[in-house]
Symmetry: C2
Subunit: 199 residues, 2 copies
């Protein structure tokens, strides 16, 4: 019988997706769940509800609490944490490269490396050079991957995936969706989503 | 030595404050923490950041997820759940009566009874009659409590408490603040807040 599966929807600009991305593989393995990593762009979804930037910037009290809370969450998980500047970062190229990577067998390592650079080390992950460095560190041919990431095919794949996220009613990252369509939002719901997927 | 303490800030209109209110007493007892129950009004705080109603109404996808998630959270805790209509409810009188109750020794029971009626049974908790019924069920003199709840003293006490919440940077309910000023937001952070208070 096939393993039960869970879709892990994430935007590289999203703060709480960092601990989720670092935790999901080992938790899913323990639970016997197959995880599909699905990058998407939150920007168009935020824009559709009238937000021009992250709600953490629009609502300063919420933002202050988020940074402090994320710091505590990472400390509890023994994850390095450094606040990136600017925030949010433009995650478009990183997401396109993720689609290239995830079609191969090093996709999850790439996604974790992007999140670790961004929120663990506070590095910028917007520019081709920054992503190229990470690709090199994974033993990949950075130029080739970046070229493929900018192909029409990959661009429209990411657009379709973002449309699908919107159709599913996703409004934040990380989100987890079971095969039966049950939606869970937030790093705090990762365990509950895996439990649900196993039922 | 005095017990370490934690302030529990809540608005009766807030959905996730229901499970928090039902859980906090026993968790705090186990942790050896003294909890101060502090009702406040979220409305003025939301208004100050441009929201005329609950963000769960302003952002439908967020709202749909919240109701479903709250249902799952309550099921996991074996708490009854019924969605109240209208939402959010006007919690002003309930909060004023809470200040009367909390000055006496039946305050926590009253707060739990309001939350249980509202989110456990889906009952309206806006009107004096509705609150009076709950007061009666607690063996209190409903008329006397409601009269005191409408006194100038109690009205300004609630206003001051809401001002204090705003000064503390609170932006949602439930919130937990330690004696050292560490802020935790959300039912999901209750355990972390208690741990922090004990350090």
């Amino acid at each position: 019988m096939a393993k039960p599966s869970l879709d892990f929807w994430f935007d590289f600009a999203s703060t709480y997706s960092y601990p989720a991305a670092m935790r999901i593989a080992s938790l899913a393995e323990t639970s016997g769940i197959a995880v599909r990593w699905r990058p998407f762009m939150l920007g168009p979804i935020f824009k559709a509800q009238g937000w021009a930037t992250s709600p953490f910037n629009l609502y300063p009290a919420k933002g202050r609490n988020m940074w402090r809370d994320l710091e505590r969450v990472c400390a509890a998980l023994d994850l390095p944490f450094n606040r990136p500047d600017p925030f949010p970062q433009n995650s478009l190229l990183a997401a396109r490269a993720a689609l290239v990577a995830l079609a191969d067998n090093w996709g999850e390592s790439y996604c974790r490396a992007i999140y670790r650079a961004e929120f663990g080390e506070g590095r910028n992950i917007e520019k081709p050079e920054a992503i190229g460095e990470i690709l090199n560190s994974l033993g990949q041919d950075a130029d080739a991957v970046l070229e493929q990431a900018q192909s029409t095919n990959i661009k429209s794949q990411l657009r379709e995936q973002t449309d699908e996220a919107q159709r599913l009613g996703l409004f934040g990252s990380p989100s987890f969706v079971t095969a039966g369509g049950e939606l869970f939002w937030g790093n705090d719901r990762l365990e509950a989503a895996l439990d649900w997927a196993r039922r």
